[in-house]
């Protein structure tokens, strides 16, 4: 019964997540709006492009009921530009910045709100509107870029203008970014405070075991040193407070 998997999503689970992304479908057949569990779908009427979840789009595609129009960032020009950015020496330390999250529309969390309350639930990938539809920005890779390109290139290759070039560029991009990620591990520290803006979901799935293992392992090795330092800092802070006019009344507090 219990799940026998280690913490962290497996690549197939990441692909499952990615299938919730909306993509733009160019229908060949009419389909009424359906009352799905996740809300009603858009009405499909040829020849109007319609946003649909990827799993749905792939189903339509397989039955030749629709074509999928690839997002702008998955084009030869955009990928070439992004690849140039990734291979540039001046940006050797960072990934292509992801497009910023859309303006927040939710209320801040209030005390005693339940966990995952719908009022304060901030949306995030794969539910960001227009991250992989035809209206997506062309200059940034979304969080699920690798899985999405893989799925589209496998199941809808005929919808690309030049699928082979796109495939090659995606593979180059993946390799460049992976080597960057590996180089970045030089800064891995027992403190577990590594910033990784722009990283993709599948890339995290690939390195999670390694990064987690190194950070946790280093932390365990440095545990005694860290504890003594933490104590020292605490003492320094307390003695600083003491000089500031609060003679050590900690013990008194304890007794009250």
């Amino acid at each position: 019964m219990a799940l026998p998997l280690a913490p962290g999503l497996t690549p197939s689970e990441v692909a499952f997540l990615c299938e919730m992304e909306l993509v733009t479908v160019i229908p060949r057949q009419r389909l009424p709006s359906l009352e799905l569990l996740a809300g009603p779908t858009a009405r499909v009427e040829p020849p109007f492009p319609t946003p649909l979840p990827l799993w749905f789009a792939l189903l339509l595609k397989r039955q030749r009921r629709a074509n999928i129009s690839p997002p702008p960032w998955l084009s030869v020009e955009s990928l070439t530009a992004i690849l140039d950015f990734e291979t540039d020496d001046r940006t050797a330390g960072v990934f292509t910045p992801a497009s910023p999250l859309p303006t927040s529309t939710t209320e801040p969390y209030m005390d005693r709100d339940p966990y995952l309350d719908s009022k304060s639930l901030e949306s995030s990938p794969p539910f960001i509107i227009d991250s992989s539809t035809a209206r997506a920005p062309g200059d940034a890779l979304p969080y699920h870029w690798l899985e999405l390109s893989h799925l589209l290139l496998t199941h809808a290759a005929d919808d690309f203008v030049d699928a082979d070039t796109v495939r090659r560029l995606v593979r180059d991009l993946r390799e460049v970014r992976m080597s960057k990620l590996r180089k970045g591990f030089g800064v891995l520290d027992a403190g577990a405070g590594v910033k990784m803006n722009g990283v993709g979901a599948m890339e995290i799935a690939e390195v999670r075991g390694f990064v987690g293992g190194v950070v946790d392992g280093l932390r365990k090795l440095n545990k005694s040193r860290e504890e003594s330092r933490r104590e020292r800092e605490l003492e320094e802070r307390e003695s600083g407070m003491g000089r500031g006019g609060y003679p050590d009344d900690d013990d008194d507090d304890m007794q009250l």
Binding site: P40, S104, L121, I204
Partner: protein
């Protein structure tokens, strides 16, 4: 200018997101976070209840639709069933990830049953009493009395396995965190500022509160 228009559009279109779509987002996040966090997170009982209710209705709906010979209806059925299976996978994987943690740290959660659902609590008690009965009949009873405990904490070392709160987790900041978070480095302690959209590898103990508030999500 463009940004302004987007803001206006966002504020106009936001309220129209149906509750069901928000629930899917919440359920997805619950699953991802449960799969990636070292510790059990609170059980979102309302969310699971609502989703299960809808699943039941949808199954009834699908059962009513089967039997028609119309090819168009058949295709609709395929779509409904595919989506149903996706939801079932989410819920199943979510619950199984929780059971895995409950099994692993049974003694710990026996002492702190706050984030368990009633069913999980029942399972935990039944399972651990079965286990301890089995242990005592097979070998514990032949030990000296003082060595028979399963949750001995004397001697400075606790027998109870606990989730490691300092495990490194990958997370995305969803709302700016106003107070800088302390990060213990190899040689010094740093304060880092967490801004909306940033992706970090941090210790679970440093972000736990923010994750439960929804200001940070695990990825």
């Amino acid at each position: 200018m463009d940004q302004d228009i987007q803001d206006i559009l966002a504020s106009v279109s936001a309220p129209t997101i149906p509750q069901r779509s928000i629930d899917l987002q919440a359920l997805t996040r619950a699953w991802v976070q449960e799969r990636t966090s070292p510790e059990l997170l609170p059980y979102p009982s309302d969310l699971i209840e609502r989703t299960m209710e809808r699943l039941k209705k949808q199954i009834d709906n699908i059962e009513n639709m089967t039997g028609t010979m119309d090819p168009q209806a058949n295709f609709t059925l395929v779509i409904f069933q595919t989506e149903l299976e996706r939801f079932k996978f989410l819920i199943r994987s979510f619950l199984r990830a929780r059971i895995a943690k409950i099994d692993k740290f049974a003694q710990h959660y026996l002492a702190q049953p706050d984030c368990l659902s009633p069913l999980e609590r029942e399972y935990l008690h039944a399972h651990s009493s079965l286990l301890s009965a089995h242990y005592s009949t097979s070998f514990l009873s032949s030990f000296p009395i003082q060595l028979q405990k399963l949750d001995d904490t004397t001697g400075g070392i606790s027998m109870v396995d606990k989730p490691d709160e300092d495990t490194a987790v990958f997370c995305r900041v969803l709302r700016d965190i106003l107070e800088p978070v302390e990060v213990y480095g190899e040689s010094e302690t740093n304060d880092v500022e967490l801004r909306r959209g940033d992706v970090w590898v941090l210790r679970w103990s440093a972000v736990r509160e923010a994750v439960i508030r929804g200001d940070i999500e695990l990825i």
